[in-house]
Symmetry: C2
Subunit: 158 residues, 2 copies
């Protein structure tokens, strides 16, 4: 396999940018991710690739829940803030206020839309784990056009 | 869960549009899909959600291989052609010429880029199966901006 062709072809997959969160007791975690897709209509399932050596990964492994937030076109700063994880201060994660979701995962109120999942499947292979989640709650705060990875200067894939 | 919020939030996930193919002996199959994401850098893995009651699904289940083709911004017709599967006529799938890939999967020469996978994992849950594939071959024919689902009038998610 030509590694250059592999990298270029895989980088032509289209992605959004999302902030994922989870919570296990007093342990809060967040991260910016792009490897996300729905994987079933009924029941509603999603699949998310989460970096295996991240805190977010370990907190999801322990709590079996996660929330995924849509990032609006005008919210690049919101997304980049969580590139390096999150610190909780009271009702905020790195400065962004959250509410407690029905799963216990923190729901960041700046996101125009979000959904919460319970982990029902898991594939631990390679440098990321695929978490298969059933969507158990969702919310819309406002209409928004989503930020895409292509809108930014970032790449994550290849 | 509010089903309307669930549908709207899930439809804010960003997708490309891809033509997936597979082959098991004389059995050729193709389909247009959008639930695709990379899931590991090393080894290079992807995850694809394939409709459980489709011929493509069954041919992949039998062959354990599939190819995914990037669709260019100007190739909406190429994508829509495979909404309803494919018929093989000689070296063509529904009018589009293919070559045999290293896995045996047909590689459609109109696509600007493609990658071939061997199935290494599988989650059969809900109305689609998640096929986890290791990328074993890839090619670039020309630079192209990828067609996104948002570029089209289609929805597949929610």
């Amino acid at each position: 396999m030509d590694p250059n062709a592999k990298r270029k072809a895989l980088r032509l997959i289209t992605y959004g940018l999302y902030v994922a969160t989870s919570r296990d007791g007093d342990d809060f975690a967040a991260g910016t991710i792009n490897w996300v897709s729905q994987s079933s209509f009924a029941p509603p399932l999603v699949m998310a690739g989460i970096k295996a050596d991240s805190r977010l990964h370990d907190v999801i492994a322990a709590s079996h829940v996660f929330a995924i937030h849509i990032v609006g076109k005008d919210q690049k700063d919101f997304a980049t803030t969580f590139f390096k994880g999150a610190e909780r201060q009271g009702d905020k994660l790195t400065g962004y206020r959250f509410e407690e979701g029905s799963t216990g995962a923190p729901i960041l109120i700046d996101a125009p839309a979000w959904f919460e999942c319970r982990v029902v499947d898991r594939i631990a292979r390679g440098d990321h784990t695929i978490y298969g989640g059933e969507v158990v709650n969702a919310g819309m705060r406002r209409d928004a056009e989503p930020l895409t990875l292509r809108d930014t200067a970032f790449f994550y894939g290849g």
